[in-house]
């Protein structure tokens, strides 16, 4: 079994990582247009070279307050099953090689603490980033919207 590459980043002081193959690019936070009636963690939509992408605030999605200082945030543009989305993070750290035997289940973490996004933990000795499933970011967005789409406000 070979190692998989991950992109490590920080959200609200916690280290997370996404599989590198899912990452399309990293861009500075673009101007975001708020989308009415979207869930709180969807900051809005942005123009990525002529393409419109949804932008998700990972802080909110992971259960903490949105950042007030946007000077250092980045947007990780990820490939989803059906499209592309931007994830707002506090800062990108580095690339990691994770061996299969280093991956363990996220024991002790419940869906409440991080919105069910963490599917595993990488045990790298000096650090243990939480591994995120990008499709759950999207899936949760879609679910939240379906609930909100039906009643007339």
């Amino acid at each position: 079994m070979t190692a998989a590459r991950y992109l490590a980043f920080h959200v609200d002081g916690v280290e997370y990582a996404l599989e590198a193959v899912r990452v399309r690019e990293i861009v500075p936070l673009p101007p975001v247009t708020r989308v009415p009636n979207a869930p709180a963690h969807v900051r809005g939509v942005a123009n990525l070279r002529g393409r419109i992408i949804p932008v998700v605030d990972l802080r909110v999605r992971l259960g903490s307050r949105p950042a007030t200082d946007h000077r250092y945030v980045s947007v990780i543009v990820v490939h989803l099953n059906d499209g592309v989305a931007g994830l707002i993070v506090d800062g990108v750290a580095d690339m990691l090689d994770v061996q299969p035997h280093q991956v363990r289940s996220p024991a002790g973490r419940s869906d409440d603490t991080d919105g069910g996004l963490v599917h595993a933990v990488a045990d790298l000795g000096d650090r243990s980033p939480l591994l995120l499933d990008p499709d759950r970011v999207a899936g949760a967005v879609a679910d939240a919207l379906h609930v909100r789409a039906s009643p007339v406000p």
Binding site: T33, P36, N37, V42, G44, V45, N47, G50, L145, R148
Partner: protein, 656 residues
């Protein structure tokens, strides 16, 4: 008992089911399965019969589904009968794919063009049965198709084109007029050849041409006898010197002017147009950059503007490359009116105007359905019978007129008839009966007529075999609105009805009104916008609860506060200090409250992505001139939402 005899027995049972003199499907189903299992039945035929039997055993819920099902069974059994009676004809089609696929593709495209020319000529011939040019054109089309089809090994096409060609050559030889039966055979040949050509790229598809071939043979024999008779009685041969056939036929290339054309795949053209749309947006972002805006009169600004002009010209050019004329739609219409007037046994004159009007090719097919439906309606319900017309002091022939024109970035289609006109009292009765309006409601004439576009409304008292059933003007309206168009109706009692369709030339670009709500901006598609105004404070009435309304020229419009609907904080609350944008039509008219109008914009509409698909009140987004995303409002959904609110509220009080 041979398979064919038992198949005839099955056909007989099927007819009884069709006319309703029998209702039990089981005996037919059993019979079909038995025939399928019997010796000497080819796998192809057995397959068709088993398929038919499966259809018969399917449970059916209502009459419509049952009729559809029976039609399908009839089709399958017909094909089986045909395959048994002339195994040669159906087996031939399998050989055709040996030829070079590129040549086959070329043949398909070329043949469809020939058949279009042929159809046009057939219509001309019908109008003037002695038209020698039309006969020549038809002859050439069939002859050329026959030649190429023979080369490519498409025997069914050869056989049919040969027969049609023979018939025309006999007519041409003596310079006589074609009779109605012959013209009919020509039309059927064009249709069947088109189906055969289409079947080349759909293997397994079988086209019934046996009966037509037989009818053509019979007519050719009859014509040959008559020609011989004419020859023996009338003295010398035709006056004009016989022209050698080769010289008259002309090559396919000459016919289509092929050397001056390049065929481009539509998706490539689509990508080009989309790319140019993005380039235009990027260019306008550039020209609005502070560095350029700040130096308004500098050379840089002029240069950026010059680039913009070129990009806009290129975009226009690319869109024009994707436009086609409405000639195909017109021909389809002419053909259909011909069939419809024959079906009802009363003549109808069709006047066509504006065949050269152009439209985005992506639109033309989508436009055909509603137009065809409206023509059926006009023929079935609008135009009276010859007796009724005479009694009303009209000519016995009905008149249908289809006019098209390009008006700016729109295409306007006007379909008028000189029939009885819409029956306003019947429309009102039906609308009350359906609960669409209250008996005491007062409606303007326009609003009353527009009721025919409301879902579930239909004034057709009877269902004819021509108009189909259950599809009303609401579907037409929906189709037109899906094309971002709109439809209007005018009608004069006893004098006829006029439908006017307006659709954009292309869907690639949306015209919109950019409005500000609080600190946010939204695009309202211009096609929905009637006018905007700032109301007097007294014109706004607080409703009993959720729904407010505003008076505009003595009419009360529901007022929609966009900032409430869209959750925008810090927006202007006082309508008298803001602006109202009136959208929608007729009873669906609404006044949308926005802070201010910012600009007229042209945008390329894009999806918000799968993640935000379900979000309400929006149809998509667009990159605005400053590079930010603007959201496009879903006006029909917003208008409908007001109805939902009104329903939640039992009493709508109004104190003016």
């Amino acid at each position: 008992v041979s398979a064919i005899e038992r198949l005839h027995e099955a056909t007989f049972l099927l007819v009884q089911l069709e006319v309703g003199s029998a209702s039990d499907r089981a005996p037919l189903e059993r019979l079909l399965r038995e025939i399928a299992r019997s010796d000497g039945v080819s796998p192809n035929v057995a397959g068709l019969l088993v398929q038919a039997a499966e259809h018969l055993s399917a449970p059916v819920s209502d009459g419509d589904a049952s009729a559809d099902l029976l039609r399908e069974v009839v089709r399958l059994v017909d094909r089986a009968v045909e395959a048994v009676e002339s195994p040669q004809a159906t087996d031939d089609s399998t050989d055709s794919f040996a030829a070079d696929p590129e040549m086959i593709d070329g043949f398909i495209v070329e043949s469809l063009e020939f058949l279009e020319s042929a159809e046009r000529a057939a219509l001309e011939l019908e109008a003037a049965p002695g038209n020698a040019d039309a006969i020549d054109t038809l002859f050439r089309c069939f002859h050329t198709m026959k030649g190429t089809a023979g080369f490519l090994g498409l025997p069914q096409i050869v056989a049919l084109a040969h027969r049609a060609e023979s018939l025309l050559s006999l007519i041409r030889e003596v310079g006589r007029e074609a009779d109605a039966g012959e013209i009919d055979l020509v039309f059927r040949s064009v249709d069947t050849l088109r189906a055969l050509v289409a079947a080349i790229s759909a293997p397994g598809e079988e086209v019934a041409c046996y009966e037509l071939a037989a009818a053509l043979d019979e007519q050719v024999n009859r014509a040959r006898l008559n020609t011989a008779a004419v020859r023996s009685s009338a003295a010398p041969a035709p006056t004009s010197a016989p022209v050698p056939e080769q010289q008259r036929v002309g090559s396919a290339a000459e016919f289509a002017g092929a050397s001056d054309w390049t065929r481009v795949r539509t998706d490539r053209l689509d990508n080009l147009i989309e790319g140019l749309g993005e380039l235009l947006v990027a260019q306008s972002i550039l020209t609005q950059d502070p560095a350029i805006v700040g130096a308004r009169h500098s050379e840089l600004a002029l240069k950026a503007e010059a680039v913009g002009k070129i990009v806009r010209d290129l975009q226009q050019l690319a869109i024009s490359m994707r436009t086609v004329s409405l000639s195909r739609l017109f021909r389809k219409t002419a053909r259909m009116v011909r069939e419809l007037s024959r079906g009802r046994g009363a003549p109808i004159t069709l006047e066509l105007d504006g065949e050269s009007t152009v439209i985005d090719r992506n639109m033309v097919d989508l436009l055909a359905d509603p137009v065809v439906h409206m023509i059926r309606n006009a023929v079935d319900h609008g135009i009276e019978t010859p007796d009724e017309r005479r009694a009303a002091g009209k000519t016995p022939e009905g008149l249908l007129r289809l006019r098209a024109s390009n008006a700016g970035s729109e295409v306007v289609l006007e379909l008028s008839d000189d029939g009885r006109g819409l029956d306003r009292s019947r429309i009102r009765d039906r609308a009350v009966e359906r609960g669409l309006i209250e008996a005491e409601d007062e409606l303007s004439d326009t609003d009353l007529l527009r009721l025919i576009f409301v879902p579930g409304f239909s004034t057709a008292r009877e269902v004819t075999n021509l108009s189909g059933r259950g599809v009303g003007m609401d579907v037409v309206r929906r189709n037109i609105e899906a094309l971002r168009g709109r439809i209007d109706v005018r009608s004069e009692d006893g004098a006829g009805t006029v439908f006017t369709l307006r659709v954009p030339l292309t869907l690639a670009i949306t015209d919109g009104l950019l409005v500000r709500v609080g600190s946010e901006r939204f695009v309202i598609p211009s096609r929905h916008v009637h006018l905007s105004f700032r109301p007097e404070p007294s014109a706004v009435t607080a409703g009993a609860g959720v729904v407010e309304s505003v008076l505009l020229r003595d009419r009360e419009l529901p007022l929609v506060r966009l900032h409430d609907l869209l959750g925008v904080a810090g927006a202007e609350e006082d309508p008298a200090a803001a602006v109202l944008v009136v959208v929608g039509t007729g009873a669906g008219r609404r006044a949308l409250l926005a802070d201010e109008l910012l600009a007229q914009v042209q945008v390329v509409s894009k999806p918000l992505g799968s993640v935000l698909e379900a979000v309400p009140w929006l149809t998509g987004g667009a990159i605005l001139g400053d590079g930010r995303v603007g959201l496009i409002l879903d006006v029909p959904a917003i208008a409908a939402a007001v109805d939902d609110l009104a329903e939640q509220e039992p009493v709508l009080t109004h104190t003016a």
